[in-house]
Symmetry: C2
Subunit: 157 residues, 2 copies
């Protein structure tokens, strides 16, 4: 089973909004200059993200305290004390709007912890690994690990 082909049939990913949010946050982190706010149009332009769509994502991030926003002339977005310490799972929760997660990965209706399907435990373990990973990794972890490659990831379209 070629990895690329198989991946198409199993969904294990985050929303597009999540990707937009993460890349925008990293952009703000890299471009951070004390007191200088960065505007939506710059972020959307540099990262090639639909501007108005990104506006909604950024609004939610600001509302949740992951970053700061300011209206008006010289306004824009800027990181705050929380930004670097934000775990990825928080960004996922802020941007994730899909409410239809079935606890049984096989979609068997009567499957639960009391009456688990044969895959229940193994599937839960894998999902928990995934959640643990997103919970343990923060924005600063990403920023630190391999910065050179990272800047490219962000700046390039």
């Amino acid at each position: 089973m070629p990895e690329q082909a198989a991946g198409r049939f199993v969904r294990m990913f985050l929303s597009k909004s999540f990707g937009y949010a993460l890349r925008s946050i990293l952009y703000l982190v890299l471009a951070h200059d004390e007191n200088k706010r960065i505007q939506l149009s710059e972020i959307a332009g540099k990262l090639n993200i639909p501007r108005h769509f990104l506006g909604k994502v950024m609004k939610r991030l600001a509302k949740e305290g992951v970053l700061l926003s300011q209206k008006g002339p010289m306004g824009g977005f800027i990181i705050n004390g929380q930004t670097l310490q934000t775990p990825l799972i928080k960004i996922a929760m802020i941007t994730g709007e899909s409410a239809h997660f079935d606890s049984c990965v096989l979609r068997l209706k009567k499957c639960n912890s009391q009456q688990p399907c044969p895959l229940h435990q193994q599937a839960l373990q894998i999902r928990d690994k995934w959640l643990d990973l997103l919970s343990s990794v923060t924005v600063s972890d990403l920023y630190k690990k391999d910065q050179a490659d990272f800047i490219k990831s962000i700046a390039n379209i």
Copy 2:
């Protein structure tokens, strides 16, 4: 992070079509009677699956050889020699129509094996565990493991 809440924000599941396919196959396995074909309306009715939608799923399964179909009076669906040996990943591939899987779980555009993002390896490992599980488990494995609970899972809505 409560497990149930977190699950809503991370997508790791199979399509509805997959669930319909799997449950229908298991139904055919359990209800199997030499030479007696089972009709779409019975399966859809018993499993509470939209009939016409299931028709398309079953058609694909038959076309791929996972089971047999026959038109006309006394027609219907029936398992064949392959059915029990079918790994779940095959059902996922047949029923999976989502073609938009990004190799980078963080949706970073420049992330690949040459230039991996900080989560790339860990995320791939988790995804591979998930793919391995689906590749190693066959229909007969599900059928055998805990049959009593299973029949309930299938027969109940």
